[in-house]
């Protein structure tokens, strides 16, 4: 670094002013020009967040939203070189500062996360799926998962209700967010606990539905695994039509 300390400080002051609007003195600088930088920089951050979190922006009162933006810009050192990824840092910032508790908005973290995940899934780098065929044995075959997904747990069902309603239904929710392999649109599905369990065993253990049901029967000493299996088959059939599952792995000969 070849800057002299005073040159360094001038840039630092300009940056601090842009991030906070707090008074600074820079030799030769005009007040109008400085205020313009503050306006441009803050607008940029605000617009990025408004675009990423349209629902949160709408449900938060102006003063709370503006406070979040101001604090985030002033206190958080933005790490990504790509501004469209900055909303992910915003989600973490709001969670760490615990505004959900501070402002008695217990659903806030879930709502921000829910809104960000849609962008993340929409933009994430392409992932190649395992080879598959459309014909297969739904009970005993290996089911191939669409790899472009995020399965996220939520405490408040912000994916099902408006926040005023969602806050009355805390629980354990699992939201599947995935990208349609052809249209590349983002799709959402609310999964039950059993669906989630089934999905994770398919995705991570490559187990067949029969194996998963048999395991559950053993674990919970069930007399009959049939109702479970019926449920799982219905889930997989439905989500295969919706392209969360792509098909069946080719049989190893």
């Amino acid at each position: 670094m070849l800057y002299q300390p005073d040159t360094y400080k001038i840039e630092q002051d300009l940056s601090r002013f842009g991030r906070t609007g707090n008074d600074i003195f820079i030799p030769g600088a005009t007040e109008e020009g400085l205020r313009q930088y503050r306006r441009l920089l803050r607008n940029n951050i605000n617009n990025t967040m408004v675009q990423a979190f349209p629902i949160s922006r709408q449900v938060l009162p102006d003063d709370e939203w503006n406070e979040l933006i101001n604090l985030f810009f002033a206190d958080h050192d933005a790490k990504t070189a790509q501004i469209w990824k900055l909303p992910a840092e915003f989600v973490t910032f709001v969670k760490e500062k615990d505004y959900a508790t501070l402002w008695s908005k217990p659903w806030l973290n879930d709502l921000l996360y829910f809104e960000w995940i849609e962008i993340e899934v929409y933009t994430m780098p392409d992932i190649e799926a395992e080879p598959f065929t459309l014909q297969g044995d739904i009970r005993n075959g290996t089911i191939v998962v669409n790899p472009e997904y995020r399965l996220i747990p939520l405490r408040y069902p912000v994916h099902l209700y408006a926040v005023e309603e969602a806050k009355n239904h805390p629980g354990d929710y699992f939201m599947m967010v995935y990208r349609h392999p052809e249209t590349r649109e983002v799709l959402f599905a609310d999964l039950s606990a059993l669906d989630t369990f089934t999905f994770e065993n398919i995705a991570h253990e490559q187990l067949s539905l029969s194996d998963i049901a048999a395991g559950l029967k053993l674990q919970f000493a069930l007399s009959d695994q049939h109702p479970l299996l019926t449920n799982m088959i219905a889930f997989v059939q439905e989500m295969m039509a919706q392209k969360l599952f792509l098909g069946y792995a080719e049989e190893r000969k």
Binding site: Y3, Q12, G28, Y37
Partner: protein, 271 residues
């Protein structure tokens, strides 16, 4: 022309915009998958791609982000990019990105710093880069003129100059100098690329470089004056938002073409 999502269909589906090259910010496209990743692949397949960076922050004291620069380098290779340019400004301070272009004090020590940084980037990428003169809205503790500053950096670093003619106009207005004299004082043999854009006057004393308006006549005049002094180089129409009808964009491109054709051979056309 700059490739932006809002006007993507005019490039890829309707062919209403058919430029000789497109410019994009690498920050907007690196690691992008899905629908837009596929759109970008098609763009880079159909048009030569020029990269115009935003976040490298050549003018800040922070260490260069080499991990990011590595991604840019891979992106350059992957999309067969011919030109990578960045700004004569800083966009990062105290390890925090600011996502805008802030002015560097025009001083001896900043010249030394910038020269070293530009060389570091060129060595890393194994290609020359072009550096753009930026619009700025307040002087910051200058100890030399903007013209001296740019001349010293270009001559000492060996980089090319991306001459943004609109920025010269904006700065001349904001800081009360003569834009024609300024252009004449630039290292014109090092100009590798030209930007043309619109701007917005926000008060009687301040113009902001918005890329959201049509180019105004005095900037066309300045462009004409500039082109007459240069060897042929690519010319970009910058438009980032507030898009008009496509025919209006093409009208602007044609205006630029007709000026260029007065001075340059036919096969170099603005895009």
């Amino acid at each position: 022309m700059g490739f932006r999502r809002d006007i993507a269909d005019a490039f890829l589906k309707t062919n209403e915009i058919n430029p000789d090259f497109v410019e994009v910010a690498p920050e907007n496209w690196i690691n992008m998958g899905g629908y837009w990743g596929a759109q970008f692949k098609e763009v880079s397949h159909r048009f030569p791609v020029f990269l115009h960076g935003l976040s490298l922050s050549i003018g800040s004291p922070d260490e260069l982000d080499l991990a990011f620069l590595r991604q840019v380098k891979n992106f350059i290779a992957e999309h067969d990019v011919r030109v990578y340019s960045e700004h004569l400004s800083f966009a990062k301070m105290d390890n925090a990105h600011l996502y805008d272009l802030l002015p560097i004090p025009f001083r001896e020590d900043s010249v030394k710093h910038l020269v070293a940084r530009i060389k570091q980037v060129q060595d890393f990428l194994e290609m020359p880069i072009a550096i753009e003169n930026v619009s700025y809205y307040t002087p910051v503790a200058a100890q030399m003129t903007e013209s001296e500053f740019i001349n010293q950096i270009v001559s000492q670093s060996g980089c090319n100059l991306l001459l943004d003619v609109n920025n010269v106009y904006v700065n001349a207005f904001n800081h009360h100098y003569d834009p024609y004299e300024f252009i004449s004082g630039m290292p014109l043999d090092r100009v590798a690329y030209i930007h043309m854009a619109g701007h917005e006057q926000v008060s009687p004393t301040l113009i902001v470089d918005t890329h959201g308006e049509a180019i105004i006549d005095p900037v066309y005049d300045l462009f004409d004056f500039t082109v007459a002094k240069l060897k042929p180089v690519p010319v970009l129409l910058e438009r980032d938002f507030n898009f008009p009808e496509i025919r209006m964009l093409n009208h602007e491109m044609n205006q630029l073409r007709s000026i260029v054709n007065k001075y340059w051979i036919k096969d170099v056309v603005p895009a």
